[in-house]
């Protein structure tokens, strides 16, 4: 086995609580996770899937309606050229931050607790980015020529304009999507092989056989796999930071008061992690219960995520206050007006929803009891996502609706099409997520096993500390890292 996950354990203090509940064996883990993809599909799944599919159909219908009639079906107007579409885009991209952050950055930082949640968080990431990618595509006026944003050599000798942040977006988000998907898939190969080996039917075996790329668990496979995983993690890490930085450039590079701010890249990244973790908590609180994975995804895992939510929520709140300070400090009247208008203008309601959801509510996580309370964290994860959606709404709409010339000021309100399209993307998201829960190993079994006590070669000798330790038998005499 590789040294990487093992040496990760050296950071663990002795009296940390165990990562996983009960006394799970490797086989228990495999069973717990795999049997959900192998058993007969539960009726409840079909119910949920039908609901999600209805949402997906709604999305398709709304997009068809939009394409047929034009962007006018949305509530946009002359000062407010971007509304729900861009808000939703940034919202979904933000959600799509948690998965890769958990898999890649926490992997590099040797956080073993990530193993229980990274697979589903990554799936969430990919599906969220898919939802996000819909919006910049459909929000343009002439969707049939959207490919002009791509640098495709053509007889017109027309090339995209590389100074535009929208073009950077095209690259940033698509690269992020591709790398995240690859990372997710590569990480899944050993688990797919486990499923393949357990498969009873011929076709299942064949399909999984192709997907697991001939994985046999050989030492060489493990070595290559872990190298690849490490490299992909290193590749994905900067992307986690870059994608939302680039998304924030859409705003920061412009000259609209309220958008034209250098604080945006870190503030957007923090906000994205904040919302992404909240979404992971929302999903896992439900799925660990439904799929009986409480022993693998324990309250400890959730608590750690809540700490990150607390941290990033505080960063985001700090950024809100900093913006106000800078607006005052800059002496630019337009900037000052934009921020006062946010807090006290016609969209004050949105601003205060944002402030309370993002800055206030997560502060309750300072209390250990609350951050370990499942109902409480579920509520906060929901309010966080509401708050983060409103953050993007506040940034996008309140800045545009009143900018430089008061003669052009107007108010934006969404139409039913705006709202239903957004609802529809949840249909797409949950359709994909339910398919994932049904057909893919929702927990990274192999990685969980790395960090289980049994992974310690001396575990069965009875003098382990009950958890996996550093294992360097070839180099040094077997010594427990804690001894």
């Amino acid at each position: 086995m590789s040294t990487v996950p093992h040496s990760a354990q050296t950071a663990q203090a002795i009296d940390d609580p165990p990562l996983f509940g009960a006394d799970l064996s490797f086989h228990d883990v495999t069973e717990l996770v795999s049997h959900h993809t192998e058993k007969k599909t539960p009726t409840a799944w079909f119910g949920a899937f039908a609901l999600a599919n209805a949402g997906l159909l709604l999305l398709v219908a709304m997009i068809a309606y939009l394409f047929w009639n034009g962007t006018g079906v949305w509530g946009l107007n002359n000062p407010v050229g971007w509304g729900y579409a861009i808000v939703n885009f940034v919202f979904w991209v933000g959600i799509g931050h948690a998965g890769t952050l958990i898999s890649a950055i926490l992997f590099l930082f040797r956080q073993p607790w990530r193993t229980a949640i990274n697979r589903s968080a990554e799936a969430m990431t990919i599906f969220a980015v898919m939802c996000a990618l819909i919006f910049p595509t459909i929000h343009v006026g002439r969707v049939w020529v959207i490919y002009w944003t791509l640098p495709i050599p053509n007889q017109m000798e027309m090339w995209p304009q590389f100074k535009s942040p929208l073009l950077w977006d095209v690259f940033a988000v698509s690269v992020y999507f591709m790398v995240s998907a690859t990372f997710w898939y590569v990480g899944m190969v050993p688990d797919l092989a486990s499923l393949r080996d357990r498969a009873r039917s011929l076709w299942r075996r064949r399909v999984l056989g192709v997907l697991s790329m001939g994985w046999s668990g050989a030492n060489r496979h493990w070595r290559n796999y872990e190298k690849a995983y490490l490299l992909l993690a290193a590749l994905a890490t900067p992307l986690v930071l870059s994608v939302h930085s680039v998304v924030s450039f859409d705003f920061a590079v412009s000259i609209v008061p309220g958008w034209h701010t250098t604080i945006f890249p870190p503030y957007f990244v923090a906000g994205a992690i904040f919302s992404g973790f909240a979404m992971v908590v929302t999903l896992l609180v439900i799925s660990r219960k439904v799929y009986g994975l409480e022993n693998i995804i324990t309250v400890n895992h959730l608590e750690k995520m809540n700490i990150i939510i607390l941290l990033t929520g505080t960063i985001v709140g700090f950024a809100y206050i900093t913006e106000f300070f800078i607006a005052w400090y800059s002496g630019v009247p337009y900037e000052q007006y934009a921020f006062l208008n946010r807090a006290f203008g016609p969209y004050a309601w949105a601003y205060w929803i944002m402030m309370s959801c993002n800055l206030l509510f997560p502060q309750f996580f300072w209390f250990k009891k609350l951050r370990r309370s499942i109902p409480f964290m579920f509520a906060v994860s929901i309010t966080t996502n509401i708050g983060m959606w409103f953050e993007r709404f506040v940034i996008t709409v309140t800045s545009l609706h009143r900018d430089y010339l008061p003669s052009s000021w107007d108010y934006y309100s969404p139409t039913a099409v705006d709202i239903l399209t957004f609802v529809g993307t949840f249909g797409l998201f949950f359709t994909l997520f339910l398919l994932f829960l049904r057909f893919a190993p929702m927990v990274a079994m192999a990685e969980v096993k790395y960090v289980m006590p049994q992974a310690d070669p001396h575990f069965y000798e009875g003098h382990g500390d009950g958890r996996a330790g550093a294992d360097e038998p070839e180099v040094a005499p077997s010594v427990s890292p804690t001894s």
């Binding site: 006018g72 946009l76 007006y337």
Partner: protein, 1048 residues
């Protein structure tokens, strides 16, 4: 079996009458044996089909059906299209030609030059050669182009509502003409300056002994009446604002397009506002009940109720020493009155008093001008040379209607008038029409009167028929057509009058030439060609009446009139008043079916597609009505306005600066025009029927409410007795192009931001560069100050620039806020030039109007409750050198041209709208729907072929009329010379009667625009953003009276 009893069974040959041809003697004799032999070739039992239909019939029907079915598929177009086998001389396909013509408006001609592209008129401009036009136009001339192609124009002669034809009408007219000795003909027409019509009138009078000729306009010209009292000939006052130093307007909106002499007034006024060598400029006082563009241009403005206006005017007159007879009133010692009167007295002959729709105020103004000695200097009384036929049209109409009701009119001819709609309803014109056996209506539309008339004859548009007329100052013009009538049955007013005068169908061309014969002397053909080429006959201006020849003392008659009308000089009569105005867009309703005008924002209220009851905030409070701004949309309460004559239900609109207890309504709305176009159907999925303004029948039908029911029979413009106004409902959506936020705060914010800069004359004298006071010291950037990463990194040295070097021309624009009055002419001109689409009320209320130039209106000071000043700022695209829109477009659809304009490449645009978001001036407009896809076919002809028609999903904006720039480029290249200064004129600049917009080459230091850029009053909008706009502004100078200023 199918039974097909369609064809009758063939008659047997013996039943047939004896035919000329016969086959045998037996047949000829009708021998039954022969019949039995020849009758059938089959045995009796095999004879005939089981049903009535024979095989042969069946095959016949089938064959015929097949043939007909096939024919429907291969119908050949019946329209004959013909190429120019012989090209008309001088005509080059694609190169527009220009023709001089003119448009009749309020009884005078506005001289025009109309551009014709491949035989269809596409753009209307003023005639720059004409002494009265100077090349500028008002909104009505510009918009009249759309009226030509109006899809709702009537197309057929109708008799009792059934399509007839012109020949039938000619026969009818000839019959009537034959009976003219006893026939009682009444003719109802608009006022007109046409000499041919005048001649035809004499002809009619000669031919028809019982002729009644009534001229009638829904909006009366009270100035003509006041100045013409007691004179034999009709006169009209002409004001020379450029010679005036102190001007007082008594509710006179002389700067609005609806004023008969608007172009001359605006030009003169703009000239008088320029600070001259001695450092002086004119001062304008406006006392008005409503807020007008003239009030916005004022140095001092006072809100005075319309019913108080005569007393107010009398108080000033008293101070000026006229009319000691006038009684003292509350106004007598009003500080405003004292200051204005003193100022006027000091100005003497360089003072000028003008008035509006109120006869008494007009008479008092005339009296004051006489007292000041202003007649001859600032005001000329022009003698039109036409004996005045009407001084009191209401009285004439009363008698006409009484006669009609008594059955004393046999034939009523209504030409281009619509009394069923625009006469006060209490006249009951429709009922009176029913008593007349033969009513003939000639008009552009199948309107309210057309429906009530027996005959309807479609009228030609002025661009389709020959006519003539005289400009306000009297210069004669021939109105020449640019296109054959679009609808065959259409005939011109003079043709219809000529037909009734002689019973013969004569062409308008012959009638006009006959009139002009004596006018232009011996060498007729040469002079005639000259006149139609130039568009006018020089030296035909009306002479001014010598000062001091007044036959009636205007003051005396004013005072008498006031005495008759109640307490003249009494203090303000308490209670509400309703004031009627001609609409600044639809006028009296004759422009109502014009979508450009329906969507033209009112200069002050910015309301479109509706008429509203305007009132001040205090009045609204006392009536307990509100206009609520919910989610950026205005939801207005409705009020029931009842006068002794009737009542109407109107939405409310609240404006600051209006006189309290004064409610203002406009004519022109609530039209019912019958359109033959099919309504656009729709379904849930396709929104075309909701976004197409032409989709629901005639444009004007159902827009707004007609105020005819509450207009008084006297046609006075104000009703102040027994007016009751009550809230009748709420939640009426009113669309406005501005004020989507709270009104006073927005304006205050705009002024704080230094968007509009102005100073008093004093301040300007002390500090001519006042506009820069609020700006930080500009950062002078020097390329050398910046570390260069590469050698030769200056943009000018980069390969991209070297391949495409800077043009020798660098276009720029300067807008003089001191000249601009906010009359909207530029906006409509831009719309006509650049194929800008209308989007309808619903879309405007969603903030999606498409105008490329907008007139930002702000109120200054005094809050909503007081009487704030109003300022107007035209905002087109600024063509920033450092354009924020360009760098954010992902597909490079908006780029800079070598000559320095910011260009929009429509077919590259994918519609991200990022450019619009990043435009600090918000001048970019997005095509949220396919506005052009639903246009009726005839309106496509109004499009300028040199400007791309934009489709759904692309951004658009002001292009500095790039098509005109390129045209000048081509012309100068062909002639191998540089473009001359003033050769390229943008559409807004060309229309502007004030000359407030100057466009030209900044690289030429001699150009007018470069001189404008050197003006110390010049500033850039949002200069601190460093976007380096090419459009800049010249700050406004106000000239307040220090005495009033201190009191304020």
């Amino acid at each position: 079996m199918i039974e097909l009893p369609v064809l009758p069974t063939m008659p047997s040959e013996d039943a047939a009458p004896r035919s000329r041809f016969w086959r045998s003697v037996q047949q000829l004799q009708g021998d039954p044996a022969y019949s039995a032999f020849t009758g059938s070739e089959l045995l009796p039992e095999a004879q005939g089909p089981p049903s009535e239909t024979s095989r042969r019939q069946f095959l016949q029907i089938m064959g015929a059906s097949m043939a007909l079915a096939g024919l429907t598929a291969c119908r050949k177009p019946v329209e004959a299209i013909m190429p120019f086998a012989q090209k008309p001389e001088e005509m080059i396909p694609g190169v527009p030609m220009q023709y001089a013509t003119g448009m009749e408006f309020r009884g005078t001609l506005r001289p025009l030059v109309v551009e014709s592209t491949d035989g269809r008129p596409t753009k209307i401009e003023g005639n720059p050669e004409h002494p009265e036009s100077n090349g500028s136009t008002g909104v009505f001339e510009q918009a009249s182009l759309l009226a030509l192609y109006d899809p709702d124009r009537s197309r057929d002669v109708l008799l009792d509502g059934v399509a007839s034809d012109w020949n039938a009408f000619v026969r009818f007219a000839a019959e009537r003409h034959a009976e003219r000795a006893t026939g009682r003909l009444a003719v109802l027409v608009r006022a007109s300056s046409s000499m041919t019509r005048l001649a035809l009138r004499s002809e009619l009078e000669a031919a028809w002994p019982g002729l009644r000729w009534v001229e009638y306009d829904a909006v009366a010209d009270e100035a003509r009446r006041a100045y013409g009292m007691g004179r034999r000939n009709a006169v009209r006052p002409r004001f020379h604002f450029d010679r005036a130093r102190v001007i007082l307007s008594l509710d006179g909106d002389f700067l609005d397009s609806t004023d008969p002499d608007h172009l001359h007034n605006t030009r003169g006024f703009a000239r008088s506002r320029a600070v001259d060598e001695t450092g002086e400029m004119s001062r304008l006082y406006v006392a008005e009940s409503v807020y007008t563009v003239t009030g916005g241009a004022a140095d001092h403005r006072l809100a005075v109720r319309r019913s108080d206006l005569p007393a107010f005017a009398a108080a000033i007159a008293r101070r000026l020493g006229v009319g000691a007879g006038g009684a003292a009133s509350a106004w007598t010692d009003h500080p405003w009155v004292v200051a204005v009167a003193d100022d006027l007295a000091q100005a003497g002959p360089r003072g000028l008093v003008v008035a509006g729709d109120d006869l008494a105020a007009q008479q008092l103004a005339f009296a004051m001008n006489l007292a000041l000695g202003a007649t001859g200097t600032t005001v000329d009384v022009l003698d039109t040379g036409v004996a005045e036929f009407r001084l009191d049209q209401a009285a004439e109409l009363e008698t006409l209607i009484a006669d009609m009701l008594r059955g004393e009119v046999d034939t009523l001819l209504l030409v281009d008038v619509n009394p069923v709609y625009d006469l006060p309803s209490s006249y009951g014109f429709r009922e009176a029409m029913a008593r007349v056996p033969d009513t003939v209506h000639a008009g552009l539309h199948l309107d309210e009167t057309a429906v009530a008339a027996r005959w309807h004859v479609p009228l030609t548009h002025y661009l389709e028929a020959w006519s003539d007329g005289r400009a306000y100052g009297g210069t004669m013009s021939v109105v020449q057509p640019l296109i054959a009538p679009l609808y065959e049955a259409a005939h011109s007013a003079i043709e219809i009058l000529g037909l009734l005068a002689s019973g013969i169908d004569r062409s308008g061309y012959d009638l006009v030439r006959r009139t002009w014969g004596p006018l232009i002397g011996p060498d007729f053909e040469t002079s005639w060609r000259r006149v139609i080429h130039d568009g006018f006959l020089p030296g035909t201006a009306h002479p001014a009446v010598a000062p001091g020849t007044e036959t009636v003392d205007p003051l005396q008659s004013a005072l008498e009139a006031l005495a008759e009308g109640g307490a003249p000089a009494a203090a303000a009569t308490p209670g509400l008043e309703v004031v009627f105005h001609a609409d600044s867009r639809l006028f009296d309703g004759s422009f109502a079916n014009n979508a450009w005008l329906q969507e033209l924002p009112d200069a002050v209220s910015k309301v479109v597609w509706d008429n509203v009851a305007l009132m001040s905030p205090a009045t609204a409070r006392s009536l307990d009505v509100r206009v609520e701004l919910v989610n950026g949309k205005h939801h207005a309460d409705r009020v029931q306005i009842a006068t002794p004559d009737g009542s109407v239900d109107l939405p409310v609109w609240i404006l600051p600066g209006l006189a309290d207890d004064s409610v203002h309504v406009t004519l022109g709305y609530g039209r019912e025009i019958t359109s033959r176009r099919a309504r656009r159907g729709g379904n849930l999925f396709d929104l075309d029927h909701r976004t197409d303004v032409y989709g629901q029948g005639a444009v004007a039908t159902g827009i707004g409410v007609s105020v005819a029911p509450i207009r008084p029979r006297s046609m006075a413009t104000v009703v102040s007795e027994s007016v009751s106004i009550t809230r009748s409902g709420g939640d009426y959506l009113v669309a406005s192009t501005q004020d989507h936020g709270a009104l006073p705060e927005d304006s205050a914010e705009a002024m704080n931001r230094g968007l509009y800069r102005q100073a008093t004359l004093e301040e300007y004298r002390a500090n001519p560069g006042f506009v820069s006071d609020s700006e930080p010291e500009p950062i002078r950037e020097d390329w050398a100050d910046y570390p260069a990463l590469w050698q030769n990194a200056h943009p000018a040295d980069q390969p991209a620039t070297k391949d495409n070097p800077y043009s020798p021309y660098q276009w720029g624009m300067v807008i003089d806020l001191n000249a601009c009055t906010g009359c909207n002419a530029c906006l409509v001109a831009c719309q006509a030039e650049n194929n800008i689409q209308v989007v309808g009320k619903d879309q405007v209320s969603r903030g999606r109007e498409m105008h490329w130039i907008r007139l930002d209106r702000y109120f200054v000071g005094d809050g909503a409750e007081g009487s704030p000043e109003m300022v107007v700022q035209p905002v087109p695209c600024m063509h920033c050198e450092n354009a924020p829109c360009e760098s954010v477009c992902p597909v490079a659809a908006t780029v800079h041209s070598p000559d320095g304009t910011n260009q929009m490449i429509y077919n590259r645009c994918i519609g991200t709208r990022y450019c619009a978001n990043n435009c600090p001036y918000k001048v970019r407009r997005f095509n949220y729907y396919n506005w052009t896809g639903t246009l009726p076919e005839s309106l496509h002809m109004a499009s300028n072929p040199n400007v791309t028609v934009r489709s759904r999903g692309v951004m658009e904006k002001c292009s500095y009329c790039i098509q005109r720039v390129r045209e000048a480029n081509r012309r100068s290249n062909l002639e191998n010379r540089p473009i001359r200064d003033g050769e390229v004129v943008t559409a807004c600049q060309q229309a502007c009667p004030a000359g407030a917009i100057v466009f030209g080459d900044l690289a030429d230091p001699e150009s007018r625009v470069a001189a404008g850029r050197r003006n110390p009053r010049r500033y850039e909008l949002l200069a601190e953003l460093s976007v380096k706009p090419r459009t800049s502004y010249l700050g406004r100078i106000r000239n307040p009276n220090p005495r009033l200023e201190h009191q304020a």
